[in-house]
């Protein structure tokens, strides 16, 4: 349990650093650390497959792309856009409302009984695969169609116009 609290503390600590870091690249690096703590959470819950997929997909691919884009952008102090006064007011207002909503929802929160997994081995690859491809086959396939459509869209956006290419 103490491991959980330590890792949970680390996740919250790093996620605070993500939003408070001045340099966007540092912010992404803290985000990577945050995701790493999530991976440890999954391992603590004996969900090895989710842990490793979180590791590969989020840390190994998506955040690399984030970092890739941010490194290419020249983010100097001079090029930072000056935010108007009204925008700052609106941001404070919005943040305040969010805080109020969070506090009120926390107040009404009751302590629930700890959830006990019926099968502690559920997170292992074999069991997860069986569950995914038997009980949740339809949602699984639908989500793959969603990903496919996103991929087609990306390819469509990336392909050049043939006509403009011919004129050059």
């Amino acid at each position: 349990m103490s491991t959980f609290y330590f890792i949970a503390f680390l996740s919250i600590f790093f996620s605070i650093l993500v939003i408070s870091a001045k340099n966007p690249v540092h912010s992404i690096l803290y985000l990577i650390l945050t995701f790493f703590t999530f991976t440890i959470h999954y391992i603590l819950m004996n969900a090895q497959f989710l842990a490793i997929v979180n590791f590969i997909v989020y840390m190994g691919a998506i955040l690399v792309l984030f970092l890739y884009t941010l490194m290419l952008i020249n983010l100097n102090k001079e090029s930072e856009p000056v935010k108007p006064f009204m925008v700052k007011i609106a941001a404070v207002f919005g943040g305040g409302i969010l805080a109020v909503a969070l506090v009120s929802s926390l107040k009404s929160l009751g302590v629930s009984d700890p959830v006990v997994l019926k099968n502690p081995e559920l997170g292992l690859v074999k069991n997860l695969g069986k569950v995914l491809f038997n009980e949740f086959l339809l949602p699984f396939e639908v989500s793959s169609v969603l990903l496919l459509s996103a991929m087609v869209g990306a390819v469509l956006l990336a392909t050049k116009d043939k006509e403009t290419k011919a004129t050059i």
Binding site: I52, M59, A61, V64
Partner: protein, 343 residues
């Protein structure tokens, strides 16, 4: 877990670390010597007999060189970069089965640090993490050539990870398990996976070259275009760590290829040998065979390096996205169809 088990694991970890470091060290020597032989030269031959002490001399030089951190670099990340590179290179060896279980005095000693049931994915994750060392180092040096090298490394690794993953999926259809220990056991004797997955093996091999940044895919450190690539600003042992990480990666990926496709510690006639030499020497011979396979792969890496020129960057991307990925998908489909028909 008993204390003895922990001690055995600890010893195994230390031995594997030492072996991978020594092999990486002597890979630098082997690379220079092999390059020389391919070019009708002699190679390093002054430090010790046949230049056998050359890696020690190089290492000593690396440690004694001046440590330079550029003024405008981000000092912390500048140090984190090479550390991360060597860390990710070293931890990959944790799931590789180095040999069969040994039985000494009624005690079963597995020659694998840990047999987690997502072993392949673990290797995959470690490989994908390896790019951070390069990226952070390249960005933190505040040099445009380093940054370009880092960015090339990132895009190259991500592109080739996809086809690598797809080629592994076809392999998983054949093996039915993600654990490297079980995959190695299944290939008992001569039932090597390369016989069932030749296309998958070639795809994996090409991707392994790309992931370890070896020629013909060494664009991140392309001297003619990028000065030194991502380690332009590095000096002393920090540079040494980057170079070292490359060789450790080569060693680990050779080990993974040998395990996944070339039967790991298995060899034809192993049962006969095991029955004749006893329960301790049998697995040790298997381990020796495994290392022979690894060295062959390392030699192949070097052989290709001194044969094929570097790709152009657009050719690299074309190869990754337009050829390897469709091939890998076709391989999955064919494998799936064949398996369904045979069952």
């Amino acid at each position: 877990m008993e204390l003895a088990d922990i001690a055995i694991k600890f010893g195994l970890i230390i031995i594997i670390f030492l072996i991978s470091l020594v092999i990486a060290m002597y890979s630098t020597y082997a690379e220079r010597k092999i390059a020389a032989f391919f070019q009708d030269r002699v190679g390093p031959n002054r430090a010790g007999p046949w230049g056998i002490l050359q890696p020690l001399a190089d290492g000593g030089k690396m440690f004694l060189k001046e440590e330079i951190i550029p003024t405008n670099a981000t000092p912390f990340l500048f140090i984190v970069g090479p550390s991360l590179a060597i860390l990710t290179a070293c931890i990959g060896s944790a799931v590789i089965p180095w040999g069969q279980n040994m039985v000494i005095g009624g005690k079963v000693i597995p020659l694998q640090v840990t047999d987690i049931n997502v072993g392949i994915l673990y290797i995959f994750g470690v490989v994908s993490l390896g790019v951070y060392g390069v990226m952070i180092g390249g960005w933190a040096s505040n040099n445009k050539y380093s940054l370009l090298g880092a960015i090339r490394a990132a895009s190259q690794n991500i592109s080739y990870e996809i086809s690598m993953g797809l080629s592994i999926i076809a392999l998983l259809l054949v093996t039915g398990t993600l654990s490297l220990g079980e995959i190695a056991q299944q290939q008992h004797g001569w039932h090597w996976n390369v016989l069932y997955q030749p296309v998958g093996f070639i795809l994996f091999l090409v991707c392994a070259f790309a992931e370890t940044n070896r020629t013909p895919f060494d664009l991140p450190e392309c001297e003619t275009e990028l000065v030194g690539g991502y380690h332009t600003e590095y000096s002393s042992m920090k540079l040494g760590f980057y170079l070292f990480a490359e060789y450790i990666n080569m060693f680990i990926s050779s080990a993974v290829m040998a395990t996944l496709y070339f039967g790991g510690y298995n060899y034809p006639g192993m049962d006969w040998v095991a029955a004749h030499v006893g329960p301790i020497a049998g697995p040790l011979i298997g381990t020796a065979v495994f290392f022979a396979k690894i060295f062959l792969f390392i030699f192949f890496f070097m052989w290709v390096r001194w044969t094929i020129p570097r790709f152009r960057y657009d050719q690299l991307m074309d190869l990754g996205w337009k050829i390897l990925i469709p091939l890998a998908i076709a391989n999955i489909v064919v494998t799936g169809v064949v398996i369904t028909l045979l069952n």
